[in-house]
C-alpha cells in the first residue's frame, strides 16, 4: 500500500538572553560545572523565580515573525517530573495559556510555497545536564544550563516528508536568526527537535498512531530519523501489524530509532498553574513596539527577490536563508547589475566552496565587489564562463581579485580569430577521419571538435568564437 507520513515537530530553541529566565545568572556555556548557578536556579528552599523580561520580548518577537497571535494574557505552569538534572522536581513551562498561538512558517517544496502551521510557542526553562563518566561509572550533574530560557515551538501535523521537515527546520532557524532571538545552532544543542510521526494510506484523512522520536540533534539526523521511522511504520502496517504509541530515541550511529517508553509508561506531568509567578501580560503597545524591531523576514525577502530580480523561487528561498547571504546577494547585484548571474554564482560555486569548508557567508573571502568585478570580466569577454570557474576558485583560495588572478595565471580569453583559426586547422589536420565523417553527415561529431579546440587552447578560447569558426571551417 502507498502511505503518506504525517509529521509534527516540536522545536526547543534557546533564547540568546544574557541571563537566565528566572534569575540573574549568566547564560554563558563551556564554563566550569556549577559555577553559573545561584539558589534560584538550583532550587534551594524558599527561593522564588523572577521573570526575565527580555525572554518575553524575544518570544513575542518570534510570534510576530511567524504570524502568531500574541496573547495579551498568558501564564506559566509547572510540569512535574523527577530527574536528577531538574533541581526543583518540576520545570516551569507553559501549558494552557502559551504566549503565542496559531501561526505559520512558509517553506518551498518542488518550487511551490507550502505553509506549515504553528500550534503554539511557549516559554520554559531548560534543565541541567547529567554527565556520565565512563572511567568511574559515576554520573555528575552540572546545573549551569538549568534555567536557561527556551522557546518550545510546536508545529501542526502539516509536514508530509522528511525533506519538508528539514526545510521547515531550516526556515525556522533562519527566522530566529533574522530576528536575533536565538543562535539556533542544532549542533550546539540550542535548537533541538522532537518529531511526532505517523503514517496513513494516501488519500485517508484520519491520523494513524504516532510515535514520538526524540534526541535528533542535527538536520541530517532529522531527515534520517524520519525516513527510518516512516519506513518502519510502513513495514509494520504492510505486515498487518499495528503501530503502537510510544516514545522512541534515534541512534545516529546505527541510523535507527528504538523504543524508549510506551504510552503506558508515559509521564503524568501533573501540570498546574505556577503559583509563584503572576500571569504574563503583554500590552498592545508593547507588541507594537516589538513589531518595529523586526527586520524584513526571509519570506518577504524571497518574494521581493523573485519580483524585483526575477530569480526563481527556489533560488530566492536559498539566497534569503540568512540576512548576511541576502545582503551579499543584493550588494553584488547592486555592483554588477546582473541578478541572475550573481544568483547562479552564489548558488553554485560559492555555496559549494563554503559548504566544503563548513563556512558561513560571513567568512567568505570573496566579497561582493570582487564577485561583481569578475562578472564584469566575463561580460567584457576578458574571460570565459568556464575559465571564470578557475578564476573564482583561485580568488576564493588566495583572496585576490579577479584581474590579478587572470593576469598572474595568464587566463585571458583568446578572442583573436586568427589564433583560433590556427588551432582549428591544427585540430582538423590531426583528426582527418572524424573530419571526413562529419562532412559525410555525422553532425554529432561537432561537439568532439569543440572539445578538442578548447583543450588545445587550455580552455582559454572564446567559446562563441570557436563555435562560429569551427562551423565555417568544417563546412569548407
Amino acid at each position: 500500500m502507498k502511505y503518506e507520513a504525517v509529521i509534527g515537530l516540536e522545536v526547543h530553541a534557546q533564547l540568546q538572553t544574557n541571563t537566565k529566565i528566572f534569575c540573574r545568572c549568566e547564560t554563558r556555556f563551556g564554563e566550569e560545572a556549577n559555577t553559573r548557578t545561584c539558589p534560584v536556579c538550583i532550587g534551594m528552599p524558599g527561593v522564588l523565580p523572577m521573570l526575565n523580561k527580555k525572554a518575553v520580548e524575544y518570544i513575542v518577537k518570534t510570534g510576530l515573525a511567524t504570524h502568531c497571535t500574541v496573547s495579551p494574557y498568558s501564564r506559566f505552569a509547572r510540569k512535574n517530573y523527577f530527574y536528577p538534572d531538574l533541581p526543583k522536581g518540576y520545570q516551569i513551562s507553559q501549558y494552557e495559556l502559551p504566549v503565542c498561538e496559531r501561526g505559520y512558517v512558509e517553506i518551498v517544496v518542488d518550487g511551490k510555497i507550502k505553509r506549515i502551521g504553528l500550534t503554539r510557542i511557549h516559554l520554559e526553562e531548560d534543565a541541567g545536564k547529567n554527565l556520565h563518566q565512563a572511567e568511574s561509572g559515576a554520573s555528575l550533574v552540572d546545573l549551569n544550563r538549568a534555567g536557561t530560557p527556551l522557546m518550545e515551538i510546536v508545529s501542526e501535523p502539516d509536514i508530509r516528508t522528511a525533506e519538508e521537515a528539514s526545510e521547515y527546520l531550516k526556515k525556522l532557524r533562519s527566522i530566529l536568526r533574522y530576528i536575533e532571538v536565538s543562535d539556533a545552532d542544532m549542533e550546539k544543542g540550542n535548537f533541538r527537535c522532537d518529531a511526532n510521526v505517523s503514517i496513513r494510506p494516501v488519500g485517508s484523512t484520519e491520523f494513524g498512531t504516532r510515535a514520538e522520536v526524540k534526541n535528533v540533534n542535527s538536520f541530517k539526523y532529522v531527515q534520517k530519523a524520519l525516513e527510518y521511522e516512516i519506513k518502519r511504520q510502513a513495514q509494520i502496517l504492510d505486515e498487518g501489524g499495528k503501530v503502537i504509541q510510544e516514545t522512541r530515541l534515534f541512534d545516529s550511529s546505527k541510523g535507527v530509532t528504538f523504543s524508549m517508553r510506551s504510552k503506558e509508561e508515559a509521564h503524568d506531568y501533573r501540570y498546574f498553574p505556577e503559583p509563584d509567578l503572576v500571569p504574563i501580560v503583554v500590552a498592545k503597545e508593547t507588541v507594537a513596539e516589538i513589531a518595529k524591531t523586526i527586520p524584513e523576514l526571509p519570506d518577504a525577502k524571497r518574494d521581493r527577490f523573485v519580483k524585483d530580480y526575477g530569480v526563481p523561487e527556489y533560488d530566492a528561498d536559498m539566497l534569503t536563508q540568512s540576512r548576511a547571504l541576502a545582503a551579499y546577494f543584493e550588494e553584488s547585484v547592486r555592483l554588477s547589475g546582473q541578478p541572475k548571474v550573481v544568483s547562479n554564482w552564489m548558488m553554485g560555486e560559492l555555496m559549494r566552496l563554503l559548504n566544503g569548508e563548513g563556512k558561513e557567508i560571513e567568512d567568505c573571502p570573496i566579497r561582493p565587489d570582487r564577485l561583481a568585478g569578475m562578472i564584469k570580466m566575463i561580460n567584457d569577454g576578458v574571460i570565459s564562463t568556464k575559465i571564470a570557474k578557475t578564476v573564482f576558485e583561485e580568488m576564493y583560495k588566495t583572496g585576490k581579485d579577479a584581474e590579478t588572478v587572470v593576469q598572474e595565471q595568464g587566463l585571458v580569453q583568446v578572442s583573436d580569430s586568427g589564433a583560433i583559426e590556427q588551432i582549428i586547422a591544427d585540430v582538423i589536420k590531426a583528426n582527418p577521419s572524424q573530419a571526413a565523417d562529419y562532412k559525410a553527415g555525422k553532425e554529432k561529431l561537432f561537439g568532439f571538435f569543440v572539445g578538442q579546440v578548447m583543450k588545445a587552447s587550455k580552455g582559454k578560447a572564446n567559446p562563441d568564437l570557436v563555435n562560429q569558426l569551427l562551423k565555417k571551417k568544417l563546412s569548407e
Binding site: P45, G46, M50, L51, K88, D268, L277
Partner: protein, 486 residues
C-alpha cells in the same frame, strides 16, 4: 515587671529614654528562655550568640542617637520556615534538619535593616502542615496557658514564645490559619496580611498561592509596628503587590463610630464551644458599644472551604516538596542500595506522616483524569469563596468571626483523626483562599482559663481597617494584658 514581659512599643519608649538597653532586654529574654523553654519547648534553635551581637550593635546605634526604628534592639523570633543566612532553617522537618541557608528571607533582611535582635527559630508543624505543632519532626510545643494542651499551629512555637515571654514579638506564616489559630490558642495577637502584601522570598513554601508571613505580638500596636517593617513590594517575589504600604500605626484609632461590622451566619455553627461563641458575640457587642454598626452577612460557600483548601494546598505542596531528594542539601539516608533507593529512602525517612499524607493527596488531586474533578473544581470554588467576601464587603468594613471553633485542645486529642484536626481551621481557611487579611486578638477565656480569639477580616489590602477595629476593641478591654503563668 520584667523586661521580657513588655511590648515592642513599651521597650522602644524605654530605649529611647535611655531607661534600658537592648543588651538588658536581650538578656532578660534569653534567661526567660532558659527558665521556661524546657517546659514550653517553643524553640528549635535559640540564637544566643547572634542575639547578643545584634543587641550590642543596636545599643551602639541608640547611643549614637539613632532611635527612629521601633524594632531597633528588640528580640524577635522568626518561624523556622523563614531562611536566615548562616542559621539553621529546618521547617521542623528531619529532611531539612541540617539545612543552613546562604541567604536571608526578605522579611529577615527587612528586620535586620530595622535593627532587630534575632532570639531564635521557633518550632512549628513540619513544613507548616498542621494546626497543633504536634506534627513537628522534632518535638511538641506546649501551650503556656496549659502545658497539657497544644499551642495551635502551624506557627505554634512563634505564638507560644510570645505568650511565654520568650521573645517580644515573632513572625509566623499563615497558609490556612497558621498565624491566627495559634495566636488565638495562646492569647496573643496574630495578623495574616493580604496575599501579596509581604514578600514570600525566603519563606520555605508549603502552598505558594496561600502562604503569607505575618506578625504575632502581645498587642495590636506591636502588630502594626512589625507590619511596617515586613510589608512592601519585593522584586524577588513576583506575587508581592507593587503598591505602597501605609504606616499601619496611623490606622490605630479608638473611635469606631459608623464602622460596619459584618457577622456571617455560617461562622456560628453547631459543635463549636459555647464559651467561644459567647466571647465572640460579647466582643461584637463591645464594638457596637463603641459606635460600630453590626450587620448580618452571608458567606454561602463557607462549607466548601476546607475541602477546597485541602485539594489546592496539597497540590501545590506536593510540587513544592519535590526538591527534597537528599542530594544537594538536607537529610540523606545511610548506605542506600542505589540512586533510586537513596531518593526513596531519604524522602521516606526525612518526611513525617502528615507531610507524606499531603504529598499523596496532592499527587492524587493533580493526576491525569482527576485534574478536572479536583484541582480545577477547587479553583472554581475558590473563586466563589472569594466572591462571597467581595459581596459581603460591599455592605461592611470588617467581618467578625471566632478564630477557631474551640480553645486549645489537649495534646494527642486529635492527632489520630486528621479530619477533626483539619476542622480546627474551619474559620481561618476561607480567608487564605480569598487572599484577604485577617487578625486574631484575645477576646476572653474559657472556664478552664484558656484564651479565646476574635477574628477580624478585611478587604484586600485593607489591613488598616482590621487593625483599627482590633485596636479599638483592645483599648476597651483588658484581655491582652493577661499573661500565662508559668
Amino acid at each position: 515587671m520584667e523586661l521580657y514581659q513588655l511590648t515592642i512599643h513599651e521597650l522602644h519608649d524605654m530605649l529611647k529614654k535611655g531607661e534600658t538597653t537592648s543588651e538588658a532586654i536581650t538578656e532578660s529574654v534569653l534567661s526567660r528562655i532558659k527558665a521556661v523553654d524546657g517546659k514550653v519547648k517553643a524553640y528549635i534553635t535559640v540564637t544566643e550568640e547572634v542575639a547578643r551581637a545584634q543587641a550590642r550593635e543596636a545599643d551602639k546605634r541608640i547611643k549614637a542617637g539613632d532611635t527612629s526604628s521601633p524594632l531597633l534592639g528588640i528580640p524577635i523570633a522568626v518561624k523556622d520556615n523563614m531562611c536566615t543566612d548562616g542559621i539553621k532553617t529546618t521547617c521542623a522537618s528531619k529532611i531539612l534538619g541540617n539545612f543552613v541557608p546562604p541567604y536571608d528571607a526578605t522579611v529577615v533582611r527587612n528586620l535586620k535593616q530595622a535593627g532587630y535582635v534575632l532570639c531564635g527559630k521557633p518550632n512549628m508543624d513540619e513544613f507548616a502542615m498542621g494546626s497543633s505543632t504536634e506534627n513537628s519532626g522534632f518535638f511538641i510545643t506546649r501551650n503556656p496557658w496549659d502545658l497539657e494542651r497544644i499551642p495551635g499551629g502551624s506557627s505554634g512555637g512563634s505564638a507560644a514564645a510570645v505568650a511565654a515571654g520568650e521573645c517580644i514579638g515573632s513572625l509566623g506564616s499563615d497558609t490556612g490559619g497558621s498565624i491566627r489559630q495559634p495566636a488565638s490558642c495562646c492569647g496573643v495577637v496574630g495578623l495574616k496580611p493580604t496575599y501579596g502584601r509581604v514578600s514570600r522570598f525566603g519563606l520555605v513554601a508549603f502552598a505558594s498561592s496561600l502562604d503569607q508571613i505575618g506578625p504575632i505580638t502581645k498587642d495590636v500596636i506591636d502588630a502594626a509596628l512589625l507590619m511596617n517593617v515586613i510589608s512592601g513590594h519585593d522584586e524577588r517575589d513576583s506575587t508581592s503587590a507593587n503598591i505602597p504600604s501605609p504606616d499601619y500605626t496611623k490606622a490605630l484609632k479608638k473611635d469606631v463610630k459608623g464602622m460596619k461590622v459584618g457577622l456571617p451566619k455560617e461562622y456560628f455553627i453547631e459543635g463549636m464551644d459555647p464559651a467561644v461563641e459567647k466571647a465572640v458575640r460579647d466582643a461584637v457587642k463591645t464594638l457596637e458599644g463603641l459606635g460600630a454598626k453590626v450587620v448580618q452577612v452571608s458567606l454561602p460557600h463557607t462549607d466548601y472551604a476546607v475541602a477546597t483548601y485541602y485539594i489546592l494546598a496539597t497540590s501545590e505542596a506536593r510540587s513544592n516538596l519535590a526538591r527534597y531528594d537528599g542530594v544537594k542539601y538536607g537529610y540523606r539516608t545511610q548506605s542506600p542500595k542505589d540512586l533510586m533507593d537513596m531518593y526513596m529512602k531519604s524522602r521516606a525517612e526525612g518526611f513525617g506522616p502528615e507531610v507524606k499524607r499531603r504529598i499523596m493527596l496532592g499527587t492524587y488531586a493533580l493526576s491525569a483524569g482527576y485534574y478536572d474533578a479536583y484541582y480545577k473544581k477547587g479553583q472554581q470554588v475558590r473563586t466563589l469563596i472569594k466572591r462571597d467576601f467581595d459581596e459581603a464587603f460591599k455592605a461592611v468594613d470588617v467581618i467578625a468571626t471566632p478564630t477557631a471553633p474551640t480553645a486549645a485542645f489537649k495534646i494527642g486529642e486529635k492527632s489520630s483523626d486528621p479530619l477533626q484536626m483539619y476542622l480546627s481551621d474551619i474559620f481561618t481557611i476561607s480567608v487564605n483562599l480569598a487572599g484577604i487579611p485577617g487578625i486574631s486578638i484575645p477576646c476572653g477565656f474559657t472556664s478552664s482559663n484558656l484564651p479565646i480569639g476574635l477574628q477580624l477580616l478585611g478587604k484586600h489590602f485593607d489591613e488598616e481597617a482590621i487593625l483599627h477595629a482590633a485596636f479599638a476593641y483592645e483599648q476597651a478591654t483588658e484581655w491582652h494584658k493577661k499573661r500565662a503563668k508559668l
